[in-house]
């Protein structure tokens, strides 16, 4: 088993929480994991990415080589394309379709979405709306994780246990909201693929 995933987004969108949840599961299943993060300047509203590598055999590099990522999981549509060179030929882009516009020259959203839908295997999801509907506008990242979960090959319980362990100190309410967001994201992705 080997999964190479690029996580993408803008500083503050919670991509590192996605990485933490997957990382927790990987460690509990005795898998090898390397996860490289971006800290520092990029956190001030800049682009943020993380290379997440999981494997049943030892992993060499902290960075995924170009053309080798199985999936780009992005909380923002423009950011999903920034890492295109890393994606393998039949790889998946799973991205929120809601733009986060904090730059004056943000490209036309139609152009971005067309590029994703025409060129790649994809799941486009309005994570912001689904998160709000599931009860927590701040859980768009967990909606995205839910949408990506069918591709990751872990049982739902693994995700729920990880969320309990990781978000538990923030209160049971937060855990439940994240689980609901995750489930809503997963349902959407499954319906979309049919």
């Amino acid at each position: 088993m080997k999964k190479d995933i690029i996580l993408a987004g803008v500083g503050g969108q919670g991509i590192l929480s996605i990485a933490t949840v997957i990382g927790y599961i990987a460690v509990n299943q005795n898998l090898f994991l390397k996860q490289s993060e971006v800290h520092g300047m990029s956190q001030r509203g800049g682009d943020v990415s993380s290379h997440l590598r999981i494997s049943s055999s030892p992993i060499a590099a902290d960075l995924i080589p170009k053309g080798k990522a199985d999936m780009i999981l992005s909380v923002e549509p423009l950011e999903s394309l920034r890492y295109l060179p890393f994606l393998t030929k039949d790889g998946w882009i799973i991205t929120n379709n809601k733009p986060f516009i904090n730059i004056p020259n943000y490209p036309e959203i139609e152009t971005i979405l067309n590029t994703i839908t025409q060129k790649q295997q994809h799941v486009l999801i309005d994570a912001d709306r689904i998160a709000k509907e599931s009860g927590s506008a701040r859980s768009a990242n967990m909606v995205m994780l839910g949408a990506a979960s069918p591709f990751l090959g872990f049982d739902d319980d693994c995700f729920f246990n990880a969320m309990k362990a990781i978000f538990g100190r923030k209160g049971e309410d937060i855990v439940q909201k994240n689980i609901l967001a995750f489930q809503a994201g997963k349902s959407f992705a499954i319906a979309e693929r049919v």
Partner: protein
């Protein structure tokens, strides 16, 4: 066996230090080294063990405190980013002459590709410069293990050791297994109470001692568990891979099986015999190192008249920037993917001020006050406020090293650009700005210094600001007159007033200090969140 813990490279170092019996950890925050000391700060275990820790005023004071702890016989660690080691270069270079008593590990976190830095200097040169052993971990587990090994070596050979990491290791997580728990040392004075007295007569003797230890250190590298030689089937090219470069090399092969002979290096000084072996056995060499071509340069020698040595100097590897598996593949002519190209419409998303940041209002006021004087007179410094170099502000004209704003402003004023302006943050000011302000005050230079006081070390995540509540007193005590120390509130509603204050001080032909003071929006939000949580649980 203990369960693996997922740790950042930085965290593995911190946990390693705790488990190796460290008694004090000192640092000034700097990306990518900050998380080492943050881990100590938040570690229950470190707290229970009474491990001292402090965010020091700067890297120099941090290393000197650690050196004092080592003098007293206890283990100490000082952590900094690569350019921080420039600031601490004085104690660092001299600590190799004093030597250590309790184990002393100095961590320098380099930033190849300058993700968050002004240069990509390679700290291994400092190790070589000071004639000290250097460790360069290739994984988080190795980083952890090297803390035990490093402290042990330091105490055995009575020298400080340098741990050199890079951003990629510092900020990447992997499973780490903890082992070997050592208790802290008791106080034990150095056997020779003049060991740390570097009078020339003593220093000359101790320098000879340092030189005489080099053979031992090389022997240690030769027998180090972190350095090893692998004999491959293909001897056309031999690979020397240092630190993380080892991973980028192996990444290119199925099951991580190397067809070439390689030498993995993670401990310096370089093991001559190992180098000799791979040099003799292979037709040519490819040197892979993240940073400067330190090993490559030494192996090529000045005339480069031995076997062919490939690397950063002959263009096989780009001369600058971080390594990766693709770069190595290209250098070895291994087939590799390039992936799809990024769409043409892609635009950058540079970092920007947080909404509500006090710097926005300070710079808006400064820009307006400066309109009548024209561009090119604002020397700035290192922190979030450096973002004012970008649109829409375009305010600042320099960012060089910690504290350089005030001194450079003094320099441009001396050259005749008057009024000259310096912009510096509160934490940067106490790091290295105070002495410059003393220079300016002594010369009564016509400069206006804005100390943007948000009460924290913001850029690196909100560590305490060492000069909190002391800024005006410091300015007064170095000779800035009270009536030219003006505190303003950087809020939109005070904009007109603030512009007026800045204009008044720009017109003053001596040293003025203006302190726009408002808490960092990030630390404020964090406090409000914590307060709300307390209220819920209460």
């Amino acid at each position: 066996m203990m369960q693996k813990q997922l740790l950042l490279g930085d965290e593995a170092i911190a946990q390693g230090a705790i488990d190796a019996g460290v008694s004090g950890v000192y640092a000034y925050p700097g990306t990518p080294s900050t998380e080492i000391t943050e881990y100590i700060e938040h570690s229950k275990e470190a707290c229970e063990k009474g491990i001292k820790f402090q965010w020091a005023a700067n890297e120099k004071t941090s290393l000197e405190i650690a050196l004092g702890m080592s003098y007293a016989g206890k283990r100490a660690m000082s952590c900094m980013k690569h350019v921080g080691l420039n600031v601490a270069a004085d104690p660092f270079m001299n600590s190799s002459i004093t030597g250590a008593n309790g184990g002393l590990v100095i961590v320098a976190a380099d930033d190849p590709s300058m993700h968050s830095s002004q240069n990509e200097q390679d700290s291994r040169y400092y190790g070589k410069f000071a004639l000290l052993p250097v460790f360069e971990p290739s994984s988080q587990q190795e980083a952890y293990d090297m803390m035990h090994y490093g402290f042990e070596l330091s105490e055995k050979i009575k020298l400080p050791v340098l741990l050199r990491i890079t951003t990629r290791l510092a900020h990447s997580r992997a499973g780490v297994v903890r082992k070997n728990f050592r208790s802290q040392n008791e106080i034990k004075l150095p056997e020779n109470l003049r060991q740390y007295v570097l009078l020339p007569s003593i220093a000359r003797k101790q320098y000879k001692d340092l030189l005489s230890k080099q053979e031992y250190l090389e022997n240690e590298s030769q027998n180090s568990p972190f350095n090893y030689y692998f004999e491959g089937e293909n001897k056309k090219t031999g690979i020397i891979a240092c630190g993380l470069a080892y991973n980028y090399y192996l990444e290119n092969f199925e099951n991580l099986k190397s067809p070439y002979s390689f030498l993995k290096i993670a401990q310096y000084p370089l093991p001559t015999q190992m180098l000799q072996k791979i040099y003799d056995e292979c037709d040519s060499l490819l040197i892979l190192e993240d940073g400067y071509p330190l090993v490559e340069e030494q192996l090529r020698g000045f005339f480069n008249n031995g076997k062919t040595i490939h690397g950063r100097l002959d263009g096989s590897i780009p001369r600058d920037g971080e390594l990766n598996a693709n770069i190595v593949a290209k250098a070895l002519n291994i087939q590799h993917e390039e992936g799809e190209s990024i769409p043409d419409f892609m635009v950058g998303r540079p970092p920007s001020f947080c909404p509500g940041c006090s710097h926005i209002d300070a710079y808006t006021a400064l820009n307006e006050a400066l309109e009548e004087y024209g561009h090119g007179r604002v020397m700035s410094d290192i922190g979030c406020y450096t973002l004012a170099a970008l649109p829409p502000f375009n305010t600042i004209n320099s960012c060089v090293d910690m504290g350089a704003s005030i001194t450079m402003a003094k320099g441009i004023a001396d050259a005749g650009i008057v009024p000259a302006v310096a912009v510096i943050g509160d934490s940067t000011f106490t790091h290295s700005g105070i002495t410059g302000l003393l220079d300016a005050a002594n010369a009564n230079a016509p400069i206006t210094v804005l100390i943007l006081d948000n009460g924290t070390t913001g850029m690196t995540g909100g560590q305490p600001s060492p000069g909190l509540g002391k800024i005006e007193e410091i300015c007064k005590s170095v000779g800035v007159s009270s009536e030219h120390i003006r505190v303003i509130n950087p809020l939109k509603k005070y904009h007109t007033e603030n512009v007026k204050v800045i204009k008044e001080e720009l017109a003053y032909m001596g040293v003025s200090v203006i302190i726009p003071r408002r808490e960092c929006i990030q630390t404020l939000n964090k406090k409000l969140k914590e307060k709300a949580k307390e209220e819920i649980s209460a």
